[in-house]
């Protein structure tokens, strides 16, 4: 099928799930909507022939982040799982996001190169070489960041607060 049609299907899935994330009253429902959104995005990666990134996305987001969020929800929200009311100023937020949407659209339409079509080629081998040679130092730094975040999370959770 035309990749455009697939893309339309996927993007509608993404949009509906995202709206579900932000409007759901039930926090666990919201988390699962997020999971579906992430699967949708992974699908888009596949269309663009970056299968490896799609797998990475599903593994990390779906496998790690969603699980962590679920744990956090379990630990903090035992009593009121069902009852989440929005902020009382949600109309202004709507206005803000629509404004941002308009801005973004204008931005994307006035910068060029939008109508490029053609072959999509993704070579994982090139990405690998690139990642470990040219982007070697950022790679190491990101691993340090992971370590720091791990230690930080442990420290924040374990420190006794001064009453």
């Amino acid at each position: 099928m035309n990749s455009l049609v697939v893309f339309y299907i996927l993007s509608s899935i993404i949009t509906v799930s995202a709206i579900g994330v932000v409007t759901s009253r039930h926090v666990v429902h919201a988390t699962f909507y997020l999971l579906i959104t992430l699967f949708g995005v992974a699908g888009v990666y596949v269309i663009l022939l970056s299968q490896f990134l799609a797998i990475v996305q599903i593994l990390l987001y779906g496998g790690a982040i969603i699980i962590v969020i679920l744990f956090a929800l379990m630990l903090t929200n035992i009593s009121d799982f069902n009852f989440q009311v929005e902020n009382k100023h949600w109309k202004y937020s709507l206005v803000g996001s629509i404004l941002f949407f308009i801005t973004g659209t204008i931005a994307f339409f006035t910068t060029g190169g939008n109508t490029v079509t053609g072959t999509l080629g993704t070579s994982m081998k090139n990405i690998g070489i690139e990642l470990f040679s040219y982007w070697g130092i950022p790679f190491e730094i990101v691993s340090v960041i992971l370590l720091v975040a791990l230690i930080g999370a442990v420290v924040v959770s374990n420190t006794e607060s001064n009453k």
């Binding site: 994330v21 888009v44 990390l60 100023h89 109508t115």
Partner: protein, 104 residues
Amino acid sequence: MGELSLIHIQIASIVLFSIGIYGVLSRRNAVLILLAIELMLNAVNLNLIGVSAFLDQSRFLGHILIIFIITIAAAEVALALAIVLKLYKEKRNTDVDKLDVLKW
């Protein structure tokens, strides 16, 4: 219908981003705000991969950046949730509207 082109992916990205903004601004639970932030990050990833796949087929810089972004998003979520748990221990609720001590 035409071919799949960059503008379609960019529109999808900006829609996702706006929805993420709405989520950040209108949710009261701290964890749900983090969910919306994840949405925003994914929107950015979409944009990047689109640009990289269509326009930068020699070096694929966008792809590499996406790997980094996903990693850092994971680290950030972990840390943020640690803070939220600490907050919950103090105040026994996670309503961010009640966090207004640093005000005028």
